[in-house]
C-alpha cells in the first residue's frame, strides 16, 4: 500500500493505493494521519478510489484514524468508496460514522472553514 499526499483548498487529500489489510502496512495510514496532525493539518480526506482490498484490520485502521483526528478537533472524511468497501462499511454500521463523498470538490468544500 502506498499513500500520495496533496493539498486542495486547505484540505489534505490522501490518495491511497493498494490493499489496506493486515500485513500490508495498514499502520501507514495511522502514521501518516498522526504526522499530519502534528503538523497542524486537521482536515483530512481519504481518497479510496484506488484501494483494491480492505479486510477487518483495514476497517480498524480507518476507524482508528477517524477517532484520532476527531479527538484532536479535526475532521476525517472519505472519498470514492468502492462498492465492496461501501458494503463493508454498511454492514458494520460505519457508514453512519464516516462522511463519504463521490465528488472531490463537494468533499473538499464540506470541511468547516
Amino acid at each position: 500500500m502506498t499513500i500520495d499526499t496533496r493539498t486542495v483548498d486547505g484540505v489534505t487529500v490522501l490518495d491511497i493505493h493498494g490493499k489496506i489489510t493486515i500485513g500490508e502496512g495498514s499502520a501507514e495510514i495511522r502514521n501518516t494521519v498522526r504526522d499530519l496532525l502534528q503538523a497542524g493539518r486537521k482536515k483530512i480526506l481519504l481518497n479510496m478510489e484506488d484501494v483494491s482490498y480492505v479486510d477487518s484490520s483495514g476497517i480498524g485502521e480507518m476507524v482508528s484514524s477517524f477517532t484520532t483526528v476527531t479527538n484532536q478537533g479535526g475532521e476525517l472524511k472519505l472519498l470514492h468508496l468502492t462498492k465492496k468497501l461501501r458494503e463493508l462499511l454498511a454492514i458494520t454500521k460505519l457508514l453512519t460514522v464516516f462522511d463519504s463523498y463521490t465528488d472531490e470538490g463537494e468533499a473538499v468544500s464540506s470541511f468547516s472553514s
Binding site: D55, G60, V97
Partner: protein
C-alpha cells in the same frame, strides 16, 4: 444437507500472515469451481482470510512453527471450509458485538463478525485432531451444482 463430498482440497502452512494472499487466491479458485459467482467468491475469500488471520494471531499466537490447516470440501449442496489451529482458537477471547453503538469505534473485533456475515453457517469447536477449528458452510444453489458438473 447432503454430505457427499465431490472434491476436497487440504492445505497446511506455518502461522505467517504473509500467506494470506496465496490462501485467498486458493479460496477464489475453489469457490469458482463450486460455481459461486465473482461477488460470492470475494466474500467467501474475505471470510477465509479473516478465519485464517484469527487462527494465526489468536489460535497459534503467531508461533510460525505451529501449523494452520485449511480444508475445502465441495459437497453436493454446499461448500464447507474448515480452518484449524494448533492452539486455543478463540477460547477465552472477549469479542464484544461490533454493532453495539458503544463498540462502533473500536478498532478491532470485526474479523469473526465478517466470517458470520458472509457464510451461511459458522461453528467453533475443539478439533478431534487437536487444537480448535472453525467450520464454515456456504450453500450451493442448484444452478451452481450444475456448473460444477460441466467442469
Amino acid at each position: 444437507m447432503s454430505g457427499a463430498v465431490s472434491k476436497a482440497i487440504e492445505l497446511s502452512f506455518g502461522s505467517e500472515i504473509g500467506y494470506l494472499d496465496l490462501i485467498q487466491g486458493v479460496s477464489d479458485g475453489v469457490s469458482a469451481l463450486a460455481g459461486f459467482d465473482s461477488d460470492s467468491q470475494y466474500w467467501i475469500g474475505l471470510a477465509v482470510r479473516e478465519a485464517v488471520t484469527n487462527a494465526i494471531l489468536h489460535g497459534n499466537q503467531k508461533d510460525a512453527k505451529k501449523k494452520v490447516v485449511l480444508v475445502f470440501r465441495i459437497c453436493e449442496d454446499r461448500l464447507e471450509i474448515i480452518v484449524r489451529d494448533q492452539g486455543k482458537g478463540l477460547e477465552g477471547l472477549d469479542i464484544p458485538d461490533p454493532l453495539d453503538p458503544e463498540n462502533l469505534l473500536r478498532p478491532g473485533g470485526r474479523g469473526i463478525f465478517f466470517v458470520r456475515s458472509f457464510m451461511d453457517s459458522v461453528d467453533f469447536r475443539v478439533s478431534p485432531e487437536g487444537g480448535h477449528e472453525i467450520v464454515m458452510k456456504k450453500v450451493r444453489s442448484q444452478k451452481k451444482r450444475g456448473k460444477e458438473d460441466d467442469n
